[in-house]
Symmetry: C2
Subunit: 242 residues, 2 copies
Amino acid sequence: MTQNIYDNDEFFAGYSRLPRSVEGLEGAPEWPALQALLPDLRGRRVLDLGCGFGWFCRWARERGAVHVEGIDVSDKMLARARATTADATILYVRADLEGLALRVASFDVVYSSLALHYIVDLERLLAEVCQTLVPGGSLVFSVEHPIMTAPALPGWSADGAGRKVWPISGYLDEGPRSTDWLTKGVVKQHRTLATYVNLLLRLGFALRHVVEWGPSAQQILARPQLADEHERPPFLLLAARR
Amino acid sequence: MTQNIYDNDEFFAGYSRLPRSVEGLEGAPEWPALQALLPDLRGRRVLDLGCGFGWFCRWARERGAVHVEGIDVSDKMLARARATTADATILYVRADLEGLALRVASFDVVYSSLALHYIVDLERLLAEVCQTLVPGGSLVFSVEHPIMTAPALPGWSADGAGRKVWPISGYLDEGPRSTDWLTKGVVKQHRTLATYVNLLLRLGFALRHVVEWGPSAQQILARPQLADEHERPPFLLLAARR
C-alpha cells in the first residue's frame, strides 16, 4: 500500500495551509497550464484520482460534466471534500489508488493532480485508467518533475558565479525517495520522464502534449518567489488520448 | 547559418580522436539503444542528417538499405566519409541542415545522431523531415539531453555528502549555449525535452519511444568512467512515426 501521508496530522495541517488548499485551483500556479490540456467537460463523465479537498471535482461539475467521481485514500481530505461540496451528484470514494479497480469504459476524462508520484505500481494503475476510459477519452495528469524527485538530498545550491542551481544525482535510479516536506519521511516514487511517456505509449495511449511547467513572466511579477522555479521545472504535465 | 564547428581545425582534431570516431558506431555507448529504435532497414531508403564520417550510412547499406544518403555541413568530415566508403551507391551531400530542402515522400527512415542540438530553426528542419518521409516512415534521432545543455556553466560538482551532482540552472530558458568542448565557443541550442516532443506532435508525428540514455551496469563494468553518466542522462533518444 502507498504511504497515506495525507492522514498524518502534521502533514495534513501543513498541507491545509498551502495556497492550493486555501484558494483552490487558482492557488496552484500550474493550474492554467493543466486546465489548458483538458478537453471541454460539458456532458462528460470525469474521474479525479487523488481528489483531495474536491476542488477539481466541483470545478468539473461547474464546467458541465454530467458525472464526477473523486477517489482519495485520505479520510481527512475526503471529510473536508464532502463538507464543502453542496452538489450531491459528485461522488467521493475512499480507495487506495494502489490496487484500484475501475469499471470498464465508464469515463470520458481521467484527471490527476500531483498524486501519481506516490504510486508504486504505476503501470497497473495506468492500465486501469486506460480500460476505464472510452476510446478517444482523455487522460490529463501532473506529477512532480523527475528533476525534482531524482536527488536523494533535494535542495537549492549555488554555482561558482553565485547563481542558484538545482543539483541532480541518481536521475536514472528509479524508485522510492524519502524526503522531509511538511513532515518527516514523505515517500515519493522517482521515475524518469521517459518512463512516464513510455508507460503511456506501451498501454496504447497516443501522447498529445507534454509540459515541463515553469512560471510565466507575469506570474513571477505577481509572486517573485516563483522565479527559482524557472531554473528547473517543478512539475511535469502530460496529456494523452486513449 | 549554424556554426560549422566540425571544420574548425582544433575541434576536428579532437573529435577525430574520440572513440566514436576511431571505432565507429560501436565506440558510441548509446549506439545499442539507438539501434534498438530503428526499424528493419532491408529494402528501405535511408537519410542520415549530420552523417559525419559516414559510419551509419555504411552500416545502413550493410543492413540492406537500398538507397542511403548522408548530409553534412563539414567538408572535412565528408572528405573522410568519401575516402573510407567503397560502396559507390552511398550518396554524400554537403549542405547546411539549417535551411535544408528535402524531396517529398522520398525516404522510409530518417536518422540523426547528435546533430540536431546545433540547429537554430529545428521546427523548420523537422517539417522538412516530415514531408520527405513516406506515411508510416520512421524518424530516429539523438541529441544531447536537455539536462546537459541547460546550464550556462555545465560541469560536475559535489553535494554535502560528497556525492557527484550535476547542477542545473536555466532549464526553461531555451536558446544558445556556448561551451568549451574540444575547442572554445562551441554553440549548441538548448531546448527542453517537452519542446522536442511537442515539436514532433505538432508536426503530426506519432511518438513511439523516448530514451533518456545512461550506461548499463555491464557497460559501467567494462568502462568504469561511464558511471557518472548514470547520475544524469547525457543523451536523449527519440523515435517517432510519420
